[in-house]
Amino acid sequence: MDALRVVPSKLKGLTRLRCEIFQTAYNPKNLRTGAKYLRARLRGPSMMEYYPKTITLSQVARELPQLGIVDEDEMQRLQDVEDRKRRGKGAPKKAKRKEDSKRMSKKR
C-alpha cells in the first residue's frame, strides 16, 4: 500500500511539469487571472453573419452609376412627396423652440 501513496510535493511538481510541457498557465491556487477573457473566441465576426445579406436595386445603382440604372419605385416615391407638398400636405416644419411644437400646445 505504501508504494502507491503519492507525496503531495511530487504531485505539485508533476502539475508544474505538465503545464510547462503543454504550455498552460500554472495556477495551483486557482486564482482568477482573467485568462478566460483572453482565451475565448471573438464573437463579433460571427454575429455579423446572422442576417442574410441581400442586394437591392438602389444599392447597385449607387455602387455602379455608369450603368444608368433608375430605381423607379424610389422615383415614384419622391414624385409623390413633391405632389403632396404642392397640395400643402407635406411634413410640417420642425419646431425651433419647445413652445413652437404642436404637441406641447395641444396638451394644454
Partner: protein, 105 residues
C-alpha cells in the same frame, strides 16, 4: 451592406449593436482581463472597470438579440434559420429550407 430585415427598426437597432460589438470587442476584452484579474493591484483593476463603464450600450454582446430575418420578431426564433416559428413553418412547407420536412410517424 444591408439586410432585407432592415426595414424593421428593431432589426436596425440589433444590427447597430452587432457592429458595435465587432468594433469594440478586442479593447473590451483587454479591459475585462485587467478588471477580472485578481493578481493585479486593486487600483489598476478599478481603473479598468471604470474604463469598461465608458463603453456605450451597443458594445456589449448581451444587447445583441437574434431576430427574425423576415418579420423582425424577437420571440420564438430558430437561430439556425434566423426565422421566427411561423416563418419557419411557412418556408419549410414551401420547401425553401434544405433538409427540413414535416414530421410524420
Amino acid at each position: 451592406m444591408t439586410h432585407n430585415a432592415m426595414r424593421f427598426s428593431r432589426v436596425v437597432r440589433d444590427v447597430k449593436a452587432r457592429q458595435g460589438v465587432l468594433k469594440n470587442e478586442v479593447s473590451r476584452r483587454a479591459y475585462l482581463y485587467v478588471a477580472r484579474n485578481t493578481t493585479l493591484p486593486p487600483q489598476v483593476r478599478h481603473q479598468a472597470q471604470l474604463q469598461l463603464n465608458t463603453f456605450g450600450k451597443y458594445t456589449r454582446p448581451s444587447t445583441v438579440k437574434n431576430r427574425c430575418s423576415e418579420t423582425g420578431r424577437g420571440r420564438g426564433i430558430m437561430s439556425e434559420f434566423a426565422l421566427c416559428r411561423y416563418q419557419f413553418r411557412l418556408k419549410a412547407l414551401h420547401g425553401e429550407l434544405n433538409g427540413v420536412r414535416k414530421a410524420c410517424w
